[in-house]
Symmetry: D2
């Protein structure tokens, strides 16, 4: 998942308040971590927590403060090299797979850096920021929320590498959820529908332009696929039947010996899984997560269904309340679905990102924004699939029905699961 | 590019005649090759010519003769292992990257195998084949035509590895073409259009079902991008500017040091290229080819345009005559465009496959056919982009306006180029 | 194994006769091969038969004819690039792992090349060659004999990759040998001994200078380790016990899942092995072969013994008759030991190369010869172990008691086995 | 470099004092490091400082306390998995390349672990340890000293990866040394000499048994090769001339684009190098270091000399005072040679490990010790070369004339350099 350029910020927004809230949240997320926890990079696709905390700060320093706050004093000139992610227009940077070599600065210094930048942003906002600046601050907040989610998924990955299986948060087991009952399928008419962000409030550039699309009638399951259902797939030999898999997925299975979702393992004949609360038994009633696209697609084929397209999903989600199991709840794990209600979709937001069958492609007339902030979702529009709806580690207030997350089809370390769909 | 399952064969078709024609063509394509030429595999994505000649024959033996010709005697039981491509339902097979280890049987034996199968197919057809069998034979013919094109692109790749740069065919230089003039853009209204094959005549399964799609107004260049235009991109530093490239493409450039189209090299300050006629000077007036998707996309960005979607291309191609520079001409290289005519698209068929911006995805309500022949375009619907229109090594009669070829974005050994598009 | 520079050729030698014999032998070795068999390269460490046949010819053309036969006309200028092995002083060459891309010239043309060079060498010798030239011809003959052995081991490797397991020669099974009885250990006093070639007759540069070495008393088994003994090692869990293995060998076992000697496989509960006569049952009485150094060393540790040093071996071999099971017998497989005789070593020459515990290092005062022919055993004196005694595919007359073959410790495709040793 | 099993501890030794000294030194070495510095693993061959500090402690806990101190309470059961290095007999362990994933325990906890074990060892020694236990403690001390050196070389490697080039110690530049003058060659007679440890005092198992060896007369340079001399090699194209290099070394140069010693870089036209004092200018008068075996060997060839054998070195070092520039000086960089004295060798101990031409092989009658401590130098006797004399980061009192260090020929991150030799 990457960043991002802004839609116009048209409605009055308490940007300073949002800024403080987001920045304080990041600090809280970093609190359980030691300097070492925050430094190590467990794989090239993951970044150290320290890097997330510093990079989001660098974004404000570089995009907001340097061009807009006269007299702003840069905290440390070397940070521009250390904490640039991939903005080619801004210059050279630490290669991504080498982010874990940055043992200095200390985590404490990164927090000092955050203080320094926060004070300057407050000054800027107090002086009365122009709409353009307010828009950039808002963009920076959304950008930081993306990194909050990644900080959590990356820490989970790191802790999963340790034989100690440390808990990021309270290692007490959560109660097992209620059996959610069979999924029911909700019907949608399709036809010509409006897709994409309408420009009211913030959105990333790839969510627009809003445009019309033509959909056939379709049906969506009213809840997410559960661990129990996925265990049935495993027990039916799902991981050993090539006919269920995309060719590239089958090659991954053979090469990597995948036989269960990421982070799962057997203990005394039971399925366990690594979580942000340490090693825990798999809850059969909760949504399955840490699936690659390949696994989600193979499961759907096995079940005689298919994955929804991102347009089907968005059309169904339009108008729904954005409630769900998000990071703020502190649960940090997906939760079994609540009781079914006729014709109502459950778990559309939060819990797990839902793989769609849609490759991440530009909408008609999409153009990246000019300048550094336009680097850009656009350059990732190749080899990725869209996920929708947010997860149990997505910050509240970050998600939208039009929000397009994306990952390569073999990515498993995000909280990614699925909802079944079929033609009507 | 892969295979394939049939649309119903509804119009009366001289299937025996088509069979003979296709089979004789393969034999001609193999004629310039020694046993060694036909055996070596130059990279895992390419197959030996011997393998193409035997695999297409194995297809008829396995799918047509064994189930339908009582008393048919298998030519050699071991060939089922050697020459199965990827049909999981049919059993184990020689691993793809090890196809070049098969020095036995000799190329002559493969031709004997072809004789044996051809005689049996003739017998079957003379006895009067059922519509189902006729359909399978037709499918086998189209399948073989796909492999004819691959045989040529794979031989070109092999010969390009040799320091001798041998010519597959007559090494005499071709005359340089006429300067084709600036491309003109032809406008299309879009709206709701019909896409996909209508079931009249043969098509592969992924070309259907025919369905409606919604298009914005758009414009297409009336000819392909030329070598001369691509040289301007190179000279403008196109290969050194990361802002022009998809992120995955830029990574490929850095890793592989791409600085020009595949097969190009400098000789005495001039651009030369390896071709099926040996090393030849680059013709600035001819269409550029052997581009990856990344290079096609970067060129379009540099030119201030974009690649067309596959629906835009198909909508523009619908109803055009399927004429062009195909394999049968014996030229085996792309040809400069003929004279422009107002509002008319040139070079839509033949010359080079045109990269579209469309990932290879299933059409609405697409379902793979049951059984082995349903293995299947569907399992390749991940990580590939669609190309349209055929090339100078596509057999005549193989292409259609609805035909969807597909390759990963880093593939360069096919005859792949581009046509520019823009929003109207 | 590599090449080589000459010792002075001091005794009168029928060099023309030797030349004819060696050259004719290569031709016979190539006879059972098709153009395709002779072209494919089955791994980077192996070379195509065509390459061996041409490279040895190129050696005579480049080292003997071009500098010494006025008016000699080069057969094909491009061959200098194609068939140079690694002589940096002579220029650029086809990269070793890409030797299999050379489908042209045809095998027939390579035989024409051999004719052309043979005729010129005959002319040169008839005119009366200087001692220096005679010495170079002799060197070329020994060089070609090395490649004769490699041609056979490389063809075996290639044919082992084919699911058809073709036989290079007569696929009839050989009779099973007699049980050779327990090995007996023969004692040697050690002390100050003379090691290395004394300059009488031909030797490679690395065999000298002759020098003194100090040996402790030691004992050598009177025969090679057999397949039956090695099966006992396997059945005792030898491949699963890390304490038996060198650290680097254990890493290889884990990475490559070695569980038996190279080319071995199970068929109906019995051990079989690929041979130059096709797939054959393992003969428990014959010497075990196709072992890496790691496997030889682990076996010796398991047996409570050790490998001999190369000096121990040479001291024991000095003065023995150079008889044994060589290539000329046409058996092309190791042979069970004949009857024991008190105090007499059996199987010292032929059958299998014997791994010694000696790294391939220069002898005191060793200096590579000047010029291209001095490229050179010396540059391989790193990361290799010495093997002694020749094998069942070594040409008669090629071996000596002072002969030092060498391979990296993970090499398994040569005919390599072991003889046990211990301190007295 | 690896470990180790003991020679009998025959002379009365103040083992408790040595223990305290060694343990306190490790603590001092860890003092400049943050938790993050001590956790990150910069390459598979290097280990985190935290790991070194804990592993050496685990060694005492496992080998000394658990079998010998009744009632000893293990500090943390999980540490047996985390901090075992490679002792197969002791059980499963964290894979070496994943040592950097261990962010927990905290560095402070590792120091608590050290306190816990130190207290228990003191108790054991106060109670009066048996000679066997005292021997194991002494072994543990030497083992820990080896890891002290590795801790420093591994931290240097880590800090070299950081764009900030942090200094482990005082970043002030050291004064440039005096020009040491031309090297003089000292002659040695050779003959039958005694090699290996005589059993008086501690030695690792691979240093024995003491035995006789036969040496030709030889000469050794009286000082180490300097940076200035190595710059002359670079400027003469040494890195571009394949004829100077071992074949495997030349392959490394091509693959890794080596053009200077490890850690060197150009700044404003001058050579700089990363050091434990941060980035520093290269001192032309100081010994060159961070060379692979390949570079040392190529330099010697270029200079018309050769590397000494380990026996030549040991014979020359026998009886010399073990004085030199060791870790205790706090310099942590090699130092220019002092004034020459006729016939006297300089810099034999300390400064840089001297590559010898000797592969690391067992001495005659060498047998690894039984049990876990016998895992063992022996299993590394393949693919490594011996280095002699210690370096500027070797602890005082750790080195001996018979000491055999060993590394693969491509290792560059140790303080490794060379002294020239020649035949007399």
């Amino acid at each position: 998942m990457s960043t991002l350029s802004p839609r116009p910020l048209t409605k009055a927004s308490p940007v300073a308040e949002r800024y403080r809230h987001v920045r304080a949240t990041s600090r809280e997320l970093g609190a359980p971590l030691s300097d070492a926890d925050a430094t190590v990079q467990s794989m090239p696709d993951a970044s150290p927590a320290k890097w997330h905390l510093a990079h989001t700060t660098w974004f404000f320093e570089t995009m907001v403060l340097k061009p807009n706050l006269p007299g702003y004093e840069v905290f440390d000139e070397s940070f521009n090299y250390l904490f640039n992610s991939y903005y080619e227009t801004i210059g050279e940077r630490q290669p991504r797979p080498r982010r874990g070599m940055i043992t200095r600065p200390h985590l404490d210094t990164v927090f000092d850096y955050r203080d320094h930048v926060d004070a300057a942003v407050e000054t800027l906002l107090e002086r009365g920021a122009s709409p353009e600046v307010a828009e950039l601050v808002e963009l920076g907040c959304h950008h930081e929320q993306q990194h909050q989610e990644l900080l959590l998924t990356d820490i989970l990955h790191l802790f999963a590498q340790s034989p100690l299986k440390p808990a990021y948060r309270d290692p007490q087991p959560l109660g097992v959820g209620r059996e959610p009952g069979e999924a029911r399928f909700v019907s949608f008419d399709g036809g010509i529908v409006e897709i994409g962000h309408d420009g009211q409030g913030f959105a990333f550039d790839s969510e627009g332009p809003r445009h019309r699309a033509l959909l056939d009638p379709y049906r969506l399951a009213d809840r997410l696929v559960t661990n129990g259902e996925f265990i049935a797939f495993i027990e039916d030999g799902g991981y050993r039947n090539p006919l269920l898999w995309l060719s590239a997925g089958w090659a991954d299975i053979l090469a990597n010996k995948w036989e269960q979702p990421f982070y799962w393992f057997q203990r005394d004949g039971e399925w366990w899984t690594m979580t942000l609360r340490g090693a825990q038994p798999v809850d059969r009633n909760a949504p399955v997560t840490h699936l690659s696209y390949f696994e989600a697609d193979a499961f759907a084929t096995w079940a005689g269904k298919r994955l929804p397209s991102e347009f089907e999903w968005e059309n169904a989600a339009a108008g729904l309340s954005m409630e769900g199991n998000f990071a703020g709840s502190g649960r940090l794990r997906p939760k079994p679905a609540g009781p079914a209600r006729d014709g109502a979709l459950r778990q559309m937001f939060g819990d797990v990102w839902e793989w769609t069958r849609s490759p991440f492609s530009p909408y008609p007339r999409f153009k990246p924004v000019e300048g550094a902030v336009g680097e850009y979702n656009g350059k990732f529009m190749c080899g990725q699939f869209v996920l929708r709806g947010g997860s149990c580690v997505t910050p509240e207030g970050h998600i939208r029905a039009t929000y397009r997350n994306f990952f390569p089809p073999d990515a498993r370390w995000q909280f990614s699961g699925l909802r079944l769909a079929e033609d009507a």
